[in-house]
Symmetry: C2
Subunit: 335 residues, 2 copies
């Protein structure tokens, strides 16, 4: 027995050494295969190397590796308009039979006649009315089911894809790569927190407790002996622009070291992230690929990337990702 | 080489089998050594076994193993009054030189004369004034430093311990035991979210992003080119009673399967947790140990455990933990 035991130890050591030799100099698989080699990809790889290298001057302990991602236009598409708004429009149609008064009341009357432009002519007030009519008045569980049902069947008007198939493959790779390196990845979006949570875990690998977004108020009550949270027609929080650092502080309670956005709504999130000092990864997705996605910028009402944001990015050294030049693929493969 | 390799595999297999045999029937270390054997301890162990047993009828996937803990009176003590209030009173004294007007203005005038009862005679309004005067008007970073400095030196008036040494050893064991079994542990407290976050990771192993609490509003702005969040003298959210399910939904976005509290403020959290169906762990710490801690209940203004809550606990099958009978030790050892 002693001899076998000694053999086994020697053998185990030999096996370990052989395994180490075989893997030490092997080329690791490319963690970002949908990215062209270029400054944006290099920036991500260099940053992750810097903050994970033990003993390095930029080392960050795993607990503090917080990365925040905008959603609309950063993780999934946002044209011809925010997908949550398309959801709301579909809900108006579905709910119309229960609301005969909508036939003569704006913005619903125009909407139901297919006149989107007329409906939105009422500006922010009209938009808010549409949101409240479709997002409030039910329990959180009922709303979650409605979102899931819609996403399971609704198709994008131009690509014919499910909306959850309009997520950016290169960004899925960044999310996974950061998590493989000890990061906690958060979504910090102007979109509705409860519109995102039903699907972000499956689609992005981001669990509900790591989603930050805009919200309406909810109220706790007992209905037939069962506790429910009822969604009220009142804004609770707008997680956009200067609201993003507030939302980050409220939900995460520490400052990110990496932040990804694509529009003017993300500027303050990048400023706040940068303000903490130390190594930082700050990136803006630029929609400049009319052939494979959409090309838009300073003049777009959806996902505005103003000249002022571009000049700030240049001044601060934030990396602007060109979808056209930096990305080999745009959308994740259809399932 | 072939022979050595074969030996090594056989040896490795033998070693693995020997290790398995040595550990399989070993008594695992008691995860809750500060608990007396009794129904409360047995309840925790049985629940964890049930939700982690693969293939069992009560199995819960790790991502859904969410446990929420009240803080004051559940994880640390709350007598002679909430520690955050003691912090506020110390801050009034520290800030008084900058506020000469406080000498003649209530509730500050009474406070500065040492007349706490007189100061609090103004009820909720007086309390709110004290909180706003001491918790608002600075940046989030400045407030965090103030909390840390106070906790590093301030001592409890009766025990002489640091406040962070007045945490309950049996509850630290429950937190660690749940986490070792794949749970995410959250604090859901009526206390201030930013009063807790600076120390909960070190003391409880609960990171800032898993702390839910009451909050005042904050505002993002640039000060001398540096982004800051300024704390405003306006309530944002009260995470107590019916606010707890709202706070849980806002921050966590899914329903807990375990909840721990100690007072009427926790009732709705336990109801909401129970309402989801499936195996649940619902526990209330009862302060009934006048010798080793404090004994209080329905008549206490701090940490009220009303007769109505006790009867609801009995009716719903929530476990009431007797500090006197269930706990071998009360406080964590001093460091």
């Amino acid at each position: 027995m002693r001899s076998i035991f000694r053999h086994s130890l020697a053998g185990l050591a030999a096996a370990v050494l052989a395994f180490a030799a075989a893997t030490a100099h092997a080329q690791p698989a490319d963690p970002m295969p949908s990215w062209n080699d270029g400054p944006a990809k290099a920036r991500v790889l260099a940053f992750v190397r810097a903050v994970t290298e033990r003993g390095g001057k930029d080392y960050v302990p795993p607990a503090e590796r917080i990365a925040t991602f905008d959603n609309d236009g950063t993780l999934w598409a946002e044209q011809p308009m925010y997908f949550q708004l398309l959801f709301a429009l579909d809900r108006v149609k579905a709910l119309a039979p229960r609301h005969p008064e909508w036939k003569t009341r704006e913005p619903f009357a125009s909407l139901l006649k297919g006149d989107l432009k007329g409906a939105l002519a009422g500006g922010e007030k009209a938009l808010l009315e549409i949101i409240m009519a479709t997002h409030a008045g039910m329990t959180t569980e009922e709303f979650e089911k409605t979102v899931k049902d819609w996403l399971a069947t609704a198709k994008h008007p131009e690509t014919g894809r499910l909306y959850t198939e309009m997520v950016y493959q290169p960004m899925l790779e960044v999310l996974a790569y950061l998590r493989a390196n000890g990061f906690k990845t958060f979504i910090v979006s102007g979109g509705g927190i409860e519109f995102m949570r039903p699907w972000t875990e499956k689609v992005y690998g981001v669990p509900p407790e790591q989603v930050v977004g805009s919200s309406i108020k909810t109220k706790y009550e007992m209905r037939n002996g069962k506790p429910v949270l009822v969604r009220l027609p009142a804004i609770n929080f707008i997680d956009d622009k200067a609201g993003k650092p507030v939302g980050i502080n409220s939900h995460i309670g520490r400052r990110p070291i990496a932040a990804f956005g694509n529009s003017d709504g993300d500027r303050q999130m990048l400023e706040w992230t940068q303000g903490g000092g130390g190594a930082r990864l700050l990136m803006l997705v630029h929609h400049d690929d009319a052939a494979r996605e959409w090309a838009y910028g300073p003049k777009s009402k959806v996902g505005t990337f103003s000249d002022s944001l571009m000049s700030e990015a240049n001044k601060q050294g934030w990396t602007v990702i060109s979808m056209k030049n930096d990305w080999k693929a745009i959308f994740a493969p259809m399932k």
